[in-house]
């Protein structure tokens, strides 16, 4: 029989490690910040929007514009997920610009997971909408039949590498920018009086990095919408 006090022993229930890391903390903060912005902005919506409400509406209309432009009206049902994706990346990128804060979008595994979810669900949407006709995406119209054995594998691989290019693009941009900022900040300390030069450069780079943070969130969203467009309209 087991010891009567064994029931009070603390031990892990899951077979894998689920430590709450700084990366997970940054994601939680990003989600919390996005939630806070929108719950405050839309708490008391008026015809004449308050400043915070008009920020929320601008972001909403911006994302809706991306969908309308790249997918069309049929893409509207997918607005919630695209909107969430955009906000999550945008807040991740922008919070990364706060000194000392962790930039989770600089990690390929994070961006790759998002990209795989996007491409995977887009594929499922395409199959659900068009059935086996969806696979005509891999056989471009107008090509002569005899080059299909080469063309179709290339098309399939070009579809499969979408999550790689999508995730690498975001992660590389964020990593490179933050390494550059950190290097210039390091020069500022190391160069003493002449550190004013890299300091000026770092100030300029900070502005550029904020632009890139927003731009990359936009690019990720636009490409997701283009993939969605492929699945819905089949070119």
């Amino acid at each position: 029989m087991a010891s009567p006090i064994e029931q009070f022993q603390v031990k892990p229930v899951l077979p894998f490690d689920v430590t709450f890391t700084n990366s997970a903390f940054a994601m939680a903060v990003a989600v919390g910040a996005a939630y806070l912005l929108f719950s405050r902005g839309m708490r008391d919506p008026g015809m004449i929007p308050s400043r915070i409400q008009s920020v929320c509406e601008m972001i909403y209309e911006f994302v809706r514009g991306i969908i309308d432009e790249n997918v069309g009206r049929e893409g509207r049902p997918y607005l919630p997920v695209v909107f969430t994706l955009f906000l999550f990346i945008l807040f991740g990128n922008l919070l990364g610009m706060v000194p000392g804060f962790f930039t989770f979008t600089s990690h390929i595994i994070v961006t790759f997971t998002m990209a795989v979810v996007v491409v995977g669900s887009v594929t499922l949407i395409g199959i659900a909408r068009h059935g086996t006709h969806f696979f005509s995406l891999f056989a471009p119209a107008g090509a002569p039949k005899f080059i299909y054995p080469i063309l179709v594998p290339i098309e399939i691989i070009s579809y499969l590498i979408r999550p790689i290019s999508l995730s690498v693009r975001l992660a590389v941009n964020m990593t490179a920018g933050h390494i550059m900022l950190k290097s210039f900040a390091g020069f500022t300390v190391a160069m003493g009086v002449f550190g004013i030069l890299p300091l000026v450069a770092a100030v300029g780079l900070t502005g550029l990095e904020i632009v890139i943070a927003i731009l990359q969130a936009y690019v990720f969203t636009v490409l997701s919408c283009l993939y969605l467009n492929d699945a819905i309209n089949l070119h």
């Binding site: 290339i154 098309e155 691989i157 499969l160 790689i164 290019s165 693009r169 590389v172 731009l215």
Partner: protein, 112 residues
């Protein structure tokens, strides 16, 4: 802030805005003087990543196919070549899209 010292501010702002607008449409009617190289850097990075992703994706696919089917370097070589081709295909599509967007914006459709 009283009304008096706001008026000259707006006048100066209007003048500056008019000057900037003139400078913007003066060059090529599209982006500002520094907008073009930044967009070009972005496009170049996009194309580069697309090409590299093709090679990496093809290599990974081939490697795991080989590990699964135990077929030596066969699939690695095949997939590396096909992956490079797929990367170029994606880059080509991106360039075509960029071209289309550019001709849409300037209103003068390009040949090809």
């Amino acid at each position: 802030m009283s009304e008096d010292d706001r008026k000259p501010d707006f006048g100066a702002f209007d003048a500056r805005m008019a000057r900037l607008k003139a400078a913007e449409t003066g060059s090529d009617g599209k982006a500002g003087p520094e907008g073009e190289p930044k967009a070009a850097t972005h496009a170049g990075l996009h194309i580069g990543i697309e090409l590299v992703a093709g090679v990496i994706g093809g290599a990974l696919l081939g490697y795991f196919l080989d590990a699964w089917l135990d077929t030596g370097p066969l699939w690695l070589i095949v997939m590396l070549v096909l992956g490079s081709a797929a990367g170029m295909l994606n880059a080509h599509r991106y360039i075509k899209r960029l071209d289309r967007e550019r001709s849409d914006k300037s209103g003068t459709p390009k040949a090809g």
